[in-house]
Amino acid sequence: MNDADTVNAASIPLALNRPLAAYRIVQAAILVTLLWKWEFFLRANSLYAEIPIEDPFFPDWLESVWTVRLAFWGSVLATGIGLVTSYVPLRKTSSWFAIGSMSVLCIHQASYNDMTFITAWWCCLWSVWLAHRFDTKNRELLIRRAAFLSRLIISVILLGGAAGKWTPEYWSGEVLYDIYFIDRDFWLFNYLRDTYEPESLQDIAKWYSRQVVVVETISGIGLWALPARWAALAAVLLLTGIVVLSNKYLVSVMACLIGLACIGFLVPRRSRIAKHPRQQTSTTGNLTV
């Protein structure tokens, strides 16, 4: 392929409004995150009403089942509107409603401990930022910044997981042995229990746990520094791997992050273009030769 072909091939996908595509991908991923445990939330909804817990630590309104219902449905509705609307003010408003609802879920007595809402909150923060920048004349810069923020956010979330595991109980595998290997009903752990003796299982748990610590540490420290597309590929593989090798409920935690990681794939390649000074990027992000 000659240089002209390279530029022509690259100009076709650039016609896509990449920032808008990125925004919609992340909204769809947040919806998957929120609705993945649909059955679980339905059961939780009735149980929280049946068994309230009065705790002076939480303000009353953050113990109320109505608050958690409104916040959950508010976040679903706002994200859904953000996904489909083309009306810019509505998109901005819905992004604020989504992060507001998600913030409530992150500190409500019934939902604060669910990492689903923490990862979704970070994606909502990214969404608020992007929703207010669609009027830019430089879409290429915008999508590069969006991708940079996406891998920065994924890095800090992985680093948060890693830093809390820099402790002997995780290095020995003791914690994950108890949580996963003893009785977790998931294909990998069912297979290992059926195949290996308890002594061997403890050894497997040790190495399983160590690889988790090492992979999260390396990814947390280094993912943000990779080129956009490589970071996207690495993050999608890593986050998918966590789900496949841990438990299906983590889909709700990881789905929005996987969507966020995919933004890196939308960053246009620059290397060939940069070699040709006469080829410039227009204000709309379309290449002009």
Binding site: D55, L141, G161, P168
Partner: protein, 161 residues
């Protein structure tokens, strides 16, 4: 590493973006907090208290929510039918590990379903450890006649903070 052209277009652009830089600063702040946690006991102590819902102020607890903490610390719990030290009729005899926020065994859906469906009193003990620091907390879940429970923190907690 990121190619230089990509970094430069982000850094050298004349388009000022306060929100972009604010998010970077926010992430850097949290990263610093996380990286210092193993070396500064005060940070780990804050997190231990956060996990046990024992932060002195709700506001201080709440502002920490963006700090990611998936599968953090060695968190254990046990649930008993009688007060600690009374009769050793242990509901769940063994300590079990929880992935993060061990107080979830009290407040979260699964814990309420497993331990609080009977509408009888329960006593929970939580123990979290991180690099030599340990925090142990006890909670009495007192069944209410009108339904539900009242959470009472038992004061004689042991810790090595």
């Amino acid at each position: 590493m990121a190619d230089s052209s990509e970094v430069s277009i982000i850094r050298e652009s004349t388009e000022r973006d306060f929100g972009f830089h604010a998010i970077i600063a926010f992430v850097l702040l949290i990263t610093t907090w996380l990286l210092l946690m193993p070396w500064f006991p005060g940070i780990a102590r804050q997190t231990l208290q956060r996990f046990h819902l024992r932060t002195p102020s709700f506001a201080v607890w709440a502002v920490q929510f963006p700090v990611p903490s998936m599968y953090n610390f060695a968190n254990q719990y046990k649930v008993e039918e009688f007060p600690p030290g009374f009769v050793m009729m242990v509901f769940d005899e063994n300590w079990r590990y929880a992935n993060h926020f061990p107080a979830r065994v009290i407040t979260f859906f699964a814990g309420r379903h497993d331990y609080l469906s009977t509408q009888t009193d329960r006593w929970f003990t939580l123990k979290s450890s991180y690099r030599g620091q340990t925090l142990e907390s006890r909670f009495h879940l007192e069944a209410q006649t009108e339904g539900g429970y009242r959470l009472i923190r038992i004061d004689d907690v042991e810790d090595s903070l």
